[in-house]
Amino acid sequence: MMFYWSLCVEYMKNYAKTRLTYRADFWIEVLSDILFQGLNLIFILIVFQHTPSLGGWSEAEVVFVYGFFMIPYGVFGTFFNLWSFSERYIVKGEMDRILTRPAYNLYQIVLENIDPPSIFGSIFGAVIMIISWSQLGLPFEALDALMLVVFTVGAVMIYAGLYTALTAISFYSDAPTGILPLMWNIQNYGRYPINIYNKTIRFLLTWLLPFAFVGVIPASYFLDRHEEGLTTLALFTPVVGIVVLVIGITIWNHGVKRYRGAGS
C-alpha cells in the first residue's frame, strides 16, 4: 500500500515537472476542456429558450443535473486518460515495459496518463450546481455534503469500470475501435431527465450502460424528485459503481493475459 502511494506521488511530481515547461498549454487545455463540456450547457440554454420544461423538469433543475454531472466526470477525467491506449500501448508495444514492472499494470498506466487539467471541469460543474442550488431554493444540510461525496465516488467507479472494460477491447481486437468517442456521446444522455426516454433506452441507460447513475439519478436525490423511485435509486449509486468497476477490472485482467506484444 505504501509502495503504491509513493508511486503515485512520484508520478505526480514527474507530471508537474514536464508540465511546467509548457505552462501556456496547461491553461489552453483547461479552457478547451471546459468549452468541450460547455457544448451541452449551450444546448440546454438554447433549448429552454423555446420551452418552459423538459419532461416536467425546469431549466434550473436540468442545469443542476448538468452541474452535478461534471463533478464526477472531472475527477474521472483526471485519473483516466486512456483514450489513446490502443495506439500507445498495444500498437507501439509499450505494454511490454509496463508488464515487466512489479506494480499492478492498470495502476501504472493510469498514473502515466494522468491529466490534472480535467479537474477544472469539476470545479466549473460545482459552481454551476451551487448557483442553481440557490436558484431553486433547496435547503442544504450536512448530510447533503456527505451524499455528494458518496455519489461522486460511486459515479467515478461507474465511469472507471465502463471505460476500463471498453479500453480492454483493444486486447481482444487489434484494430482501433472508435467506440470510445461514440460512447462518450451516449454518456451525455445521462444528464437529461430519464423519464423522457422510452423503456428500451431508459433500461439501457440505467442498467446496461448505467450512465443515468452518473448524472440524473444521483442529482435527483438533491432535487427531491421522487417520481419513479428516482431518489431511492440514487442510494444505489455506490453499489452500481462497485459492481461495474469489478466487472471492468475483471475484463481488463482477462484481456491482459491475451496481450502478446507488437512485433516491429
Binding site: D25, L39, I42, H50, G55, A175, T177, N198
Partner: protein, 264 residues
C-alpha cells in the same frame, strides 16, 4: 497524375475496410445515439407542434440525417496534418511530386466514402425502421442532397486542413483542434439547428461557413428548403468552398518558409 489521386482514395478505402468489424458495433451505438436525441427532442417539443420552424417529424428526420451525414464528412485531417508537421514527416511530403493538401483531401474522401457505404447507408436504414423518419419522395431532392453532401465534406475538410496547418505556426495546437471541433459541431447545426439560436447568433451564422456543413443540406433533405431556395443554398456552399481555398493557399505558402521540426 490524376490516377495517383484516385489510388489514394482507393488505398484509404481499403485501409478502412480492414477494420470494418468495428463499424458494425459503431452503427448500433450511433442508432442508440440518434434514438436518445429523438426522445430528447420529443420531450423538448412537449405540447408544441412547431418549434424554430420545425415540426417534430422534420426534427426527427433532421437529427437522423445530420448525424449520419456527420459520419460521412467527419475526418481527422486536422490531427493528421498537425502530427505530420510535428514529427517532421511533412518534410518528406514536400519533396514528393504531388500536392500534399490534395493528397490529404483524397485520403479524407476515401475514408468518407467508406463510412458512407458501410456506416451511413446501413445506419440510416436501421434508424428509419426504428424511428418515424420521413424520407424525401422526389428524386430531385435526393440528387441535390448528395451534391450538397459532397460540398459538406469539402468545406469541413477545408476547415480541418486550415486548422491543421496552424501547427506550422504554434508548437502545440491540440487545444485549438479541440476548440475547432466544438465550434464546428455547434455552429454547423448538428447539435441544435441554427433556427433555434437566439436572433443575433443566428444572424452571425449566416455569414460563417459552418452552416454549409450540416444545417443547409439537412434542411434541404427535410424539405424545409425547397425549389429555388434549395438551389440558392447550394450556391452558398459553392461560394464558401471557393472562398476557403484562398486562406488555405495563403497559409500554405507562408507555412513552407516556417517549417521547423521539433525533435525528430
Amino acid at each position: 497524375m490524376n490516377s495517383a489521386y484516385l489510388d489514394l482514395i482507393r488505398i484509404r478505402f481499403l485501409m478502412m475496410l480492414a477494420y470494418r468489424v468495428n463499424y458494425y458495433s459503431g452503427i448500433i451505438i450511433y442508432a442508440i445515439n440518434i434514438g436518445a436525441y429523438y426522445f430528447l427532442w420529443e420531450a423538448i417539443f412537449g405540447e408544441q407542434t412547431v418549434m424554430g420552424g420545425f415540426t417534430l417529424a422534420q426534427m426527427t428526420t433532421y437529427v437522423a440525417v445530420s448525424w449520419m451525414a456527420r459520419a460521412f464528412y467527419f475526418n481527422n485531417l486536422d490531427r493528421e496534418i498537425a502530427s505530420e508537421i510535428r514529427d517532421g514527416s511533412v518534410a518528406i511530403q514536400f519533396i514528393r511530386p504531388y500536392s500534399y493538401l490534395l493528397v490529404k483531401m483524397m485520403q479524407g474522401f476515401g475514408e468518407g466514402i467508406f463510412r458512407l457505404l458501410l456506416f451511413m447507408v446501413p445506419g440510416l436504414i436501421i434508424v428509419c425502421l426504428l424511428f418515424p423518419v420521413t424520407l424525401p419522395t422526389e428524386p430531385g431532392v435526393w440528387v441535390l442532397y448528395f451534391v450538397m453532401l459532397v460540398f459538406s465534406f469539402l468545406i469541413n475538410s477545408q476547415i480541418n486542413i486550415l486548422t491543421g496547418l496552424f501547427a506550422f505556426f504554434v508548437e502545440n495546437n491540440e487545444g485549438m483542434l479541440r476548440m475547432k471541433r466544438v465550434l464546428v459541431d455547434l455552429f454547423s447545426g448538428v447539435v441544435v439547428p441554427i433556427s433555434f439560436f437566439p436572433g443575433w447568433l443566428a444572424v452571425t451564422m449566416k455569414w460563417l461557413p459552418f452552416q454549409a456543413i450540416t444545417y443547409l443540406p439537412s434542411s434541404v433533405f427535410t424539405g424545409r428548403t425547397a425549389g429555388d431556395e434549395a438551389l440558392r443554398v447550394l450556391g452558398v456552399q459553392v461560394i464558401w468552398f471557393l472562398v476557403l481555398i484562398i486562406p488555405i493557399l495563403l497559409v500554405w505558402r507562408q507555412a513552407r518558409y516556417r517549417l521547423f521540426v521539433q525533435g525528430g
